[in-house]
Symmetry: C2
Subunit: 894 residues, 2 copies
C-alpha cells in the first residue's frame, strides 16, 4: 500500500510534468503574494507623494516657480506613461521583437540541422544520427530547462489564459521566470523541427509580457497605482488585449488575432476593449513585418504566406460541394485530433509500468517521442514518402502554391521547382505522398503536443488541414482537368485554394473557432475565397462541436483548471435547479463582535480567500466580506511585537505606579478592555458565541433567546442551551489543539521567533499568556478593508441565471442570502459540479436532492406561489422569532 | 400662452416626424401587448397538446401504431423546425432575397431616372425638371408612406436595435407594419439617387424579419413555445444574429457584418452567439451573391466592388505617413459629420417659424431638401463639377479604380473610359472635381440623413471617404510620378488603394467602429492593404472618439431612447457614488396581505412594468416582483363578469334558502371571507395598512407597534397613529376621486360596459356596491406569476459596479435592499442621470447629495469601517425595534 501511495505521488508528479496541474495551494499562495505586493505598492506611492511635497517645501526659497514647473512636467509625463495606448504600443513593440527574434532563432536552428544533414551526405548512418540527435537534444534541453525554471511554461498557455481571463487568479503563470522559460523553451522546441506550433505559447508570452510590463510601468506611477479593484479589472482588459497581440504578432494577422483570442479566451466580451486588441495587435503585426523588411527578407510589407491566386474567377459555384466536403471531413478530423490527444495523455497517465520507468528519467518521454518522430521523417528513409525534409513553413508554402501538381498533360507548367520537389517521388504518386503526409503528421502532431515543452498545436493542425485541402484540390483538378465552368472561357481548378480552405477548416474544428477564416485571409493576403472558407469553417465547427470539446477545453479538463464550463442550450433540467440545491450551507464567517481567537480559529480551519462578515451568529445578517489577508494582518497586528513591547512598557509604568501608590490590581486591564469596547459602536450583545461550523437551523432560536436573556436576566428561566457557552469555549480550545497547537501556525512562530531583544524581558510562558489574553479581546475592524457589497444571490435563483451572472461578472463565489440573512455560499466549484452533473452525464441525470419535487407539479405558476408561501412560512418560523418572542415572554410574565 | 402650448405640441410632433421619438407610453403598451400575446400563445400550446392526446385516444381502435408513428414523425419535424440553424438559414435566405429585390428595384428606379434624363436631352429645362421631379416625388412618397404606415421605420434603425439589444422592449419597432414601411420606404428613398445608405435600415429590416419569423415559427411549436424568460433571452440572441445578417447581406460581407453589428449594437457580447451571426450572415451573403450569378450579372461569386490592385507590391513602407494622414483627417471629418448632422436636426427643431410652416405640410421638408440636393447635382449645371451624374455605386466603382487619374505624361494609360469620364471636366482639374465632390457630398449627406425616410448614413460616408482617399492618392501620384521605392524596380503609387483606406477610415470614424476595415476587404475582395487600412481606421477612431459620440449614439440622444451610456475610464468621481445616492426611495410596492383596493390604487397611480412584492409595509422584506399585466389580470378576475354572475347565482341560492329557513344575514359573506383567508398561509397580521407612497422611515416604528396592538389589544394605550386606519381609507377613497372616478379606468369600463345580459339583473348601483365589496377582499396571489429572485443590490454598491451589472445583465431596474428590506429601486433612468451628471458635464461635476462627505476622509479604509458601523446603527434603530419593543412593553406591563 505504501508503494502504491508513492506510486500515486509519482503519478501525480508525472502528470504535472506532462501537463502541469493546477493546485489550490499555489493559487492561495499567489493571492497572498499579490496582496503583499499590492500593499507595498501602496506604501511606495504614498512615500512618493510625500517626497514631491518635500521637494516643493524645500525649494521654495530659490527658484520655486521653475521647480514647480519641472515637477509638473514630470508629473505630466508620468501620468502620460500610465495611459493605455502607451502601454499597448510598448506591448506591441516588445512582442513584435520577441516574435521576430524567436522566428530568427528558429530559422537558424533549422538551417543548422539542414546544414549538418547536408554536410554528411556521404554516410547515411551519420546522416541519420545527425538528423535524429539534433532534435532530441533540443527537445530534451527544452523540457529540462522548462521543468527546472518554471513548469508552468509547459504547453500552449491558452487554457490557462482562458482561466485567468475568467477571473481566476493563477499568478504563478504570469511571472518573469515563466516568461524566460517559455521563450527559450519554445525556441528550442520549434528549432528541433518537430510538428509543434508557436501560436498558443505566444498568447501566453504576450500575456506574460503584459503582466510584467504592467509591473514595470507601475514604477512610474499613473493608473497603475490606483485602487486594486479597478486595477484588477484593468489588468484583465490588458491581458485580453495581450492575447490578441500574441496571435497578431505570430501570424502578422491583427484582425484574426483579435477575433481568435476573443473566441478562445472569453465567454462574454466587453466591446469597449475591442479597440485595445486591434490597436496593439495592428501595431505589433506592423512592427513584426517591418522587421522583416528591415532585415531584407521582404521588399515591402506583405502577407506571411502570400498566395497568388487569380482574382477574376477564384472558384466556380459548382466547386462548392467539394469545399463543403472539406469542411465536414475537417470537422470529423478535428474532433478525432482532440480525442487522440486526450487519449495519449490519459494512456500515458494510466500506464503505471511506463510511468515508473519514465518517472525515473524525467526527460526520457520527450526524448523517446522526438526520436520516434524524427526517425520517421528521416528524408532518405520513410521521410521521402511524406516530404519529410521540408520544415513546417516550407510545407505550408508549397501546399498553398497556385500551380497544380497533378496535371499530367502540360509538363512545362509545373516543374516541381524549389521546395515543391519534395512532394515529387520518382516511384510514388503525389496523392500517396499527400495521404501519407496527412496520416503520419496527424498522429505525430497529436503525440508531439503532449511533450512537456512550451508548444502549441495550431500550426501543425493548420498544415495538416492545408495538405488535406490540397489532396481534395488535386483530386478535383485530376477529375476536371479543364475546370468545371462550361461557359466558354477555361478556368482550371486551383488546388491551392482548396488548401487554404482545408487549413482554415481543420484548425477551426480543432479550436472550435470561426476566426481561423480571417487568420487564413491575413496569412495568405487574399480574401477571394471568402465564401468557400466560411462555409467550410462553419460546417467543420458544427461537426466538431457536436462531437468533442475544443482542444483548449480538453486540456482544461485534463489539467483540472478551475474553469466554468459552458451551459448548453436546450437542457431543460437545468432550469429546475436552484442555487439552494447546490449551495454550501456550512459557511465560514466572522461576526462583527467576535474576538481575535475566533478569527484565529477561522483562519486556521479554512482556506477561503474571503470570509463573510455577519452581524452576529444569531441574526446571520450579512454585512460584507473581508479578505483573508486583511484578517491575517489584523491578527498579526494584535499579536505582533510592537504591541507586546507597548504592553511591556505599560506594565513597567504600572509597576512604577504601584511602587508609589497603593494599587488596585486588574483596573488597568479593565480600563483597557473598556477602551477597546468603545471602539465598537455596536456592542449591545456581549455573546462571544460564534461557532466555526454553525448548524444552519438549530441554534438560531435558542441563541436569540439567550441574547434577550442578557437584556432581561430575571424574567425567563434559563434554558438548557445556556450552558452551551462553556461547552463551545471548550470546543474552540479543542479545535486548535487538534490542528494547530502542537505546531503553531507560521505567522505566530515568527512573532515568538525574533525575541532576542534587549527590552523584551518576557519569558515564553509570559508571551503565551499575553497572547492568550490578546486573543480574547474583541476584534477592531476599523483598520480593515471591508467589501460592503459582496455579490448576493437569492436561494431561488435558477442555475441558469447563476451561471450567467458568474460568467458575466467573473465571480469566484457569491453569498446566498434569504431576507438579508446569510444562508449559504456558492463558489465556482459547486457551480461546475452542478453543471457537469447535469450536462456531461447525459443519460444519468445527476439530480440535486431538492429538484425532484418541483417536477411533480403541473402548473408552474401555481407551484411558485405556493412555494413562496411555504418559503415564507419557513422563514417565519426560522428567522422571525423576534415577533413571537415578546408574546411568549409576555405570556410568561403575566 | 395657449398658442405657445400648441406650438410646443406641434414642435413635439415635428420632432417625431423628424426623427421619431421614443415615448414611455408606447413601450408600456407594447409590453402589455406582448404579455397578452404570450398568454394566448401558451393557451394555444396547451390546446395543441390536448388535441394530440385526443387523437391518440380516438384512433386507438384502428391502426394505432401507424398513427403514433405519424404523430411522432410530425413531432420530430416540428421539434426540428424549432432548431436554431433552421431559423438562421431561413432568416439568411429571406434577407438575401429582400436585399436582392431591393437592390434590383433601386437599380430600375435609377435607370428610369437616367433614361428620362437622357431622353430629354433636347431641352435643358425639361431635363432639369425630370432630374429634379423624379427624386422629389420618390422621397415625398417614401416620407408620406412611412409616416402613415409606421413612423418607427424612419431613420437608420441601428440606434433602436442597440436599445432593444440592451434589453429595453421597443415592441412597436418590430411589427409587420414597420417591416413593410421600411422596405418600401427604403427602396423609394434609395431609388431617388439621394446620398442615402442602405446599411442601417437593413440591420433594422433583418431584425424585423427575425422577429416576424420567430412569431411565424412559433405556430409550429418547438423552442418557440417555451417559458418566456428563456424565450426572451433567445429572442435577443436571434436579434443579434439578425443584425449581423443585415450588414452581411447588404454588402455581401459576412465577417465584417458580424463584427460591425457587434461593435454597433452590443456592450457585452456573448461569444456563444458568435457562430449564429457567422452562420446566418455567411448563408445570407452567399445567397445574395448567388442571386447575382443566377441573374447573369456576374460570372461567379466575387466581391461587390472588386478591385484589381497588384499583389506583389501593394504599397511601400514610405507611403505609410500618407495613410496615417488620411486616418487622422478622417477622424476629424467623421466627428464633424456627426456634429453637423446633430446641428441640422437641432436647428430645424429650434426654428419655430420654419417649424410652423413645415408642420402644416408635413412632406415639405423632405421635398425641399431633395429639391436642393438634386438641383445642385444636376449634371449640366453644378453637377458637372462634382461628377453629379454618377450614382453612389458608380462613384464608388470609379473611385476604387486601380488606374491613376492625375498622371499627365502617359495619356494612353488613362482614357477616362466608362463612368470615369464623369470625373474629367474639360476646363477643371480632376483635383478640383474631387474637392468639390467631397465638400458638397459632405453637407448633402449630413442634411439628407435628417429626412424622415428610412435611410442610413454609412454608404454616403463611405463614398466621401473613398473620394478623400482618392484625392490624397492622386496628390501622392502627382507628387511622386515614379513611385517612392528607389530599389530599381518602379512601382507607381496606386490611388485606388488610398481610396480604400479613406473609405474605411471615414466610415469607421463616423460609426466609431474598427470593423469597417474588414467590411472594406470583403467589399473589394482584396486584403493586401490591411496594414494601411488598420492604421488609418485606428487613428480615425482615436480622433473621432475623443471629439464626438458615434452617429448612432448621437441619434440615441436626439431621440431620447432609453439607452445606458458608456462609463468612461479614468473618471474617479464615479467610484465615489453609491447606489444609495441615486436610488428612488419612494418605491411602489404591494404587500402579501393587501386587498384588491390597494392593487387597484397601485395600478392607477404608477406606470411601472413590474411591482415589488413585500411581506408587509412594516417589515418591507422583499419577497419578489410581479408584472403589471399579472396584477391587472388578477384584478379583472376579481371584478370580472363570471365572478359577478356567480355571485348573483349564489345570492339567488341564498335567497331561496332564506325563503325556506330562518336566515342569519352576513354569515354567507363571512364564510366566504374566511375561505378567502384560508388561501393565505400567512395571515397572522390583519392590518390592511399599505400606503401607496410610503414615507421611507417614519411609518415603520408606529406601524410595528400597531401590529403588536392587534395581538395584545389590552396592554398598550392606543397611540394616535391607530386612527390612521380610517384616515388612510379616506385617503384611498380620495385618490381615485382625484384621478380616476370621474372617468373610470378603461379596464373597469369594459366590465361595466357589457352588462346587457339576461341573467344579469344587477343595477349599476348594485354593481358598484358589489365591486366595492370585492375590492376589500384580500388578494389571492396563488394564480399569479411571481419572480422569486428579482435583481437586488446593496445600497453601498458603487456606481461602477451597478453600471457593469446593468449592462451585462441587460437589467431594466434593480431593487435596493438592506438586510433583506426593500429600501429603494434603481432603474435605467436614474443610472443614466447619474452617469451623465458626472461624465458629460466635465467641468461642473454634478455631485450626488451624499457623495461629498466621503471625500473629506483621508483614509478610505477607516472611513468604510466606521461607515459600516454607522450604517449598522442606523439599521438597528430603524429596522430592529422588534428587539427593543418587548423590553418597552415589558416596562409598561410591569
Amino acid at each position: 500500500m505504501a508503494g502504491d501511495g508513492s506510486d500515486q505521488r509519482a503519478l501525480q508528479y508525472e502528470q504535472t510534468l506532462m501537463y502541469g496541474r493546477y493546485t489550490q495551494e499555489l493559487g492561495v499562495y499567489a493571492k497572498e503574494e499579490a496582496a503583499r505586493l499590492r500593499e507595498s505598492g501602496q506604501r511606495r506611492s504614498v512615500s512618493d507623494r510625500s517626497r514631491t511635497l518635500d521637494l516643493l517645501e524645500y525649494d521654495k526659497g530659490r527658484c520655486a516657480k521653475c521647480r514647480i514647473c519641472t515637477v509638473r512636467c514630470q508629473k505630466f509625463l508620468i501620468s502620460r506613461v500610465g495611459e493605455d495606448w502607451i502601454f499597448l504600443i510598448l506591448l506591441g513593440l516588445l512582442m513584435a521583437l520577441v516574435s521576430w527574434v524567436v522566428d530568427f532563432c528558429i530559422a537558424i536552428c533549422l538551417q543548422a540541422q539542414k546544414w549538418m544533414y547536408g554536410g554528411l551526405d556521404s554516410n547515411v548512418f551519420l546522416q541519420y544520427l545527425a538528423w535524429v540527435t539534433y532534435p532530441v537534444v533540443l527537445i530534451t534541453f527544452s523540457a529540462g530547462f522548462t521543468q527546472i525554471l518554471a513548469p508552468q511554461a509547459v504547453g500552449s498557455g491558452i487554457p490557462e489564459m482562458k482561466t485567468i481571463l475568467r477571473g481566476v487568479v493563477l499568478k504563478e503563470y504570469l511571472t518573469f521566470k515563466t516568461f524566460v522559460a517559455k521563450v527559450i523553451g519554445l525556441t528550442c522546441a520549434l528549432g528541433s523541427g518537430m510538428p509543434l506550433g508557436k501560436e498558443g505559447p505566444f498568447v501566453h508570452i504576450a500575456s506574460l509580457c503584459a503582466a510584467l510590463l504592467s509591473k514595470f510601468m507601475s514604477l512610474f506611477g499613473g493608473i497603475y497605482e490606483e485602487p486594486w479593484t479597478k486595477n484588477e479589472s484593468r489588468n484583465i482588459e490588458m491581458l485580453a488585449a495581450a492575447c490578441a497581440v500574441g496571435v497578431g504578432c505570430c501570424f502578422a494577422a491583427p484582425i484574426g488575432g483579435v477575433l481568435f483570442s476573443i473566441e478562445v479566451t472569453s465567454t462574454f466580451f466587453a466591446v469597449r476593449n475591442y479597440w485595445r486588441g486591434f490597436f496593439a495587435a495592428t501595431f505589433s503585426a506592423f512592427i513584426f513585418r517591418v522587421l522583416a523588411v528591415w532585415n531584407r527578407d521582404e521588399e515591402t510589407i506583405t502577407a506571411l504566406f502570400k498566395t497568388r491566386f487569380r482574382l477574376d474567377f477564384p472558384f466556380d459555384l459548382q466547386e462548392l460541394p467539394a469545399f463543403a466536403v472539406i469542411g465536414i471531413a475537417s470537422g470529423f478530423g478535428g474532433a478525432l485530433f482532440v480525442y487522440l490527444n486526450r487519449l495519449i495523455v490519459q494512456f500515458i497517465r494510466k500506464q503505471k509500468a511506463i510511468n515508473r520507468f519514465l518517472m525515473k528519467k524525467r526527460l526520457l518521454y520527450p526524448a523517446l517521442v522526438t526520436l520516434l518522430v524524427s526517425t520517421l521523417t528521416f528524408p532518405p528513409g520513410f521521410g521521402q514518402f511524406m516530404a519529410g525534409k521540408l520544415t513546417q513553413k516550407e510545407s505550408l508554402v508549397t501546399l498553398l502554391d497556385n500551380r497544380t501538381w497533378a496535371k499530367q498533360g502540360i509538363a512545362e507548367e509545373f516543374d516541381y521547382i524549389g521546395h515543391s520537389q519534395a512532394w515529387k517521388h520518382p516511384q510514388v504518386n503525389v496523392f500517396v505522398t499527400l495521404v501519407l503526409f496527412i496520416v503520419m503528421k496527424f498522429w505525430m502532431s497529436a503525440l508531439a503536443t503532449t511533450i512537456p515543452v512550451p508548444c502549441g498545436a495550431f500550426m501543425p493542425v493548420f498544415v495538416i488541414g492545408a495538405a488535406f485541402g490540397r489532396l481534395v484540390g488535386e483530386s478535383m483538378a485530376a477529375w476536371f482537368p479543364d475546370g468545371i465552368n462550361t461557359d466558354g472561357t477555361i478556368y482550371p481548378i486551383v488546388p491551392g485554394g482548396y488548401a487554404v480552405v482545408g487549413a482554415a477548416a481543420l484548425s477551426g474544428a480543432v479550436t472550435h473557432t470561426v476566426s481561423t477564416a480571417v487568420i487564413v485571409f491575413e496569412l495568405t493576403g487574399q480574401i477571394s475565397h471568402i465564401l468557400p472558407v466560411m462555409i467550410a469553417v462553419i460546417l467543420a465547427n458544427a461537426v466538431a462541436q457536436s462531437l468533442q470539446p475544443s482542444l483548449y477545453d480538453s486540456i482544461i479538463r485534463i489539467k483540472k483548471l478551475p474553469y466554468l464550463p459552458e451551459l448548453g442550450w436546450g437542457h431543460h433540467e437545468k432550469y429546475n435547479i436552484r442555487v439552494e440545491d447546490i449551495m454550501v450551507r456550512d459557511v465560514r464567517y466572522i461576526t462583527l463582535n467576535c474576538c481575535y481567537r475566533d478569527l484565529h480559529n477561522v483562519l486556521l480551519t479554512g482556506h477561503l480567500k474571503t470570509l463573510a462578515l455577519v452581524e452576529s451568529a444569531e441574526s446571520m445578517i450579512l454585512l460584507g466580506s473581508i479578505e483573508r489577508a486583511q484578517l491575517q494582518s489584523l491578527l498579526s497586528q494584535q499579536l505582533g511585537r510592537p504591541r507586546r513591547l507597548e504592553y511591556i512598557r505599560e506594565r513597567a509604568l504600572a509597576e512604577k505606579k504601584r511602587m508609589s501608590v497603593v494599587s488596585n490590581p486588574g483596573s488597568e486591564d479593565g480600563s483597557q478592555r473598556v477602551s477597546q469596547e468603545v471602539r465598537f459602536q455596536i456592542s449591545t450583545e456581549e455573546s462571544t458565541f460564534s461557532p466555526v461550523r454553525p448548524v444552519p437551523q438549530k441554534p438560531l432560536k435558542p441563541a436569540l433567546k439567550r441574547s434577550s436573556v442578557v437584556e432581561r436576566p430575571t424574567e425567563i428561566p434559563t434554558s438548557p442551551h445556556d450552558n452551551s457557552g462553556i461547552a463551545l469555549k471548550n470546543l474552540f480550545c479543542a479545535s486548535p489543539d487538534a490542528e494547530g497547537l502542537e505546531e503553531p501556525p507560521p505567522s505566530f512562530k515568527s512573532f515568538s521567533g525574533d525575541d532576542g531583544d534587549v527590552e523584551d524581558d518576557m519569558t515564553i510562558r509570559e508571551i503565551a499568556e499575553w497572547e492568550e489574553m490578546q486573543l480574547d479581546e474583541q476584534v477592531n475592524f476599523n483598520n480593515c478593508k471591508i467589501d460592503p457589497a459582496p455579490f448576493q444571490l437569492v436561494e431561488r435563483t435558477s442555475l441558469h441565471k447563476t451561471h450567467t451572472i458568474f460568467s458575466l461578472l467573473g465571480l469566484d463565489h457569491a453569498y446566498v442570502t434569504s431576507i438579508g440573512r446569510l444562508i449559504g455560499v456558492v463558489s465556482l466549484k459547486e457551480l461546475r459540479k452542478a453543471i457537469e452533473g447535469s450536462v456531461t452525464v447525459k443519460g444519468v441525470k445527476v439530480r440535486p436532492p431538492l429538484a425532484s419535487f418541483r417536477d411533480s407539479g403541473t402548473s408552474s405558476s401555481e407551484n411558485e406561489a405556493t412555494e413562496l408561501h411555504k418559503l415564507w412560512d419557513r422563514h417565519k418560523s426560522m428567522s422571525l422569532p423576534r415577533e413571537h418572542t415578546p408574546s411568549e415572554s409576555d405570556e410568561k410574565s403575566q
